[in-house]
């Protein structure tokens, strides 16, 4: 390990320092640990990344067959459902959408 990584031990006082710091470290883990919900939330942050990747695959994969979720008639919207590994994208196809007010 290179010099800038760890403290250098030079003698007895340093061992005493290390022991005192170890006691303080135990105290901090008792008095002021990372809140469990903060840890859990941080762990879930990676999901955003995998979700982005899956959506990218979904739109690029033309072999994915849309499942017709339901056809209710000429004037009603068509629902298409695209299934990915962990994500489902539902698309509503509306006739004459250009005449409708934007949502």
């Amino acid at each position: 390990m290179s010099d800038h990584m760890k403290p250098a031990l030079t003698g007895g006082e340093d061992a005493e320092d290390d022991r005192l710091l170890a006691e303080l470290r135990d105290l901090a883990s008792t008095d002021d640990p990372v809140p469990l919900d903060a840890m859990a939330a941080a762990r879930s942050a990676i999901a955003w990344r995998t979700m982005d990747a899956e959506l990218a695959e979904l739109t690029a994969d033309t072999s994915v067959e849309p499942q017709l979720a339901g056809i209710r008639g000429a004037d009603t919207p068509t629902l298409l459902s695209f299934d990915g590994a962990n994500v489902t994208v539902e698309v509503e196809v509306v006739q004459g959408a250009a005449d409708r007010p934007p949502r």
Binding site: L27, A28, S29, T30, D31, V34, P35, A38, M39, R49
Partner: protein, 184 residues
């Protein structure tokens, strides 16, 4: 624990590929250090949680472009510090005395409620002695109290200290602490 043997570089590579276990191992390994940076800056637990979340969210966002994955700890320390400074600057613009934020951060070490009935004299003495130290020493020691202990590079980034000053300051602060403890 899974991932304890693997290098930070290996875990970053895994996280880049979306491996949840590699990411969990990174959070487990570096969480205490990121938390310690926030608390060393005397942020309330609520603000420290914000720093914690933002820091790891930034890691997810930037993980592909980290230049040296084996020094991701230093990257996290820098990011956490920047978030802390942002919060402190915002708070600085409106400093009401008796503000909840200030009160909450007054004691960096406070025994958990359930243990206050059972007095551990040594721990009580340590808490009191620590509280009597100057700001700079409390800040440095709080960062060093993370588990695992940060590298000096990480400490330097976390607190804006030159690496060469960390060893001597550490020694001086622990000497002050021993003096406050009165040789008990």
């Amino acid at each position: 624990m899974a991932g304890n043997e693997e290098s930070d570089g290996g875990l970053v590579e895994g996280a880049r590929k979306g491996d949840q276990r590699a990411w969990d191992a990174l959070v487990a390994r570096h969480g205490s250090r990121v938390w310690a940076v926030a608390r060393a800056h005397r942020l309330s637990k609520a603000d420290a949680e914000d720093v914690f979340q933002v820091t790891f969210l930034r890691l997810v966002t930037h993980i592909d472009t980290i230049r040296d994955p084996n020094r991701v700890g230093a990257w996290l320390a820098t990011t956490a510090r920047n978030e802390c400074l942002r919060i402190l600057r915002r708070a600085g613009r409106a400093i009401p005395t008796g503000d909840e934020t200030m009160l909450d951060s007054a004691d960096l070490l406070l025994p958990p409620v359930e243990s206050r009935l059972v007095a551990d004299e040594r721990q009580s003495a340590l808490r009191e002695a620590f509280a009597r130290l100057g700001e700079a020493c409390q800040r440095l020691l709080r960062v060093l109290m993370a588990d695992p202990e940060p590298t000096y590079e990480e400490v330097g980034r976390a607190l804006g200290m030159p690496i060469g000053s960390i060893g001597p300051t550490r020694g001086r602060c622990l000497k002050h602490l021993r003096r406050e403890l009165g040789g008990i």
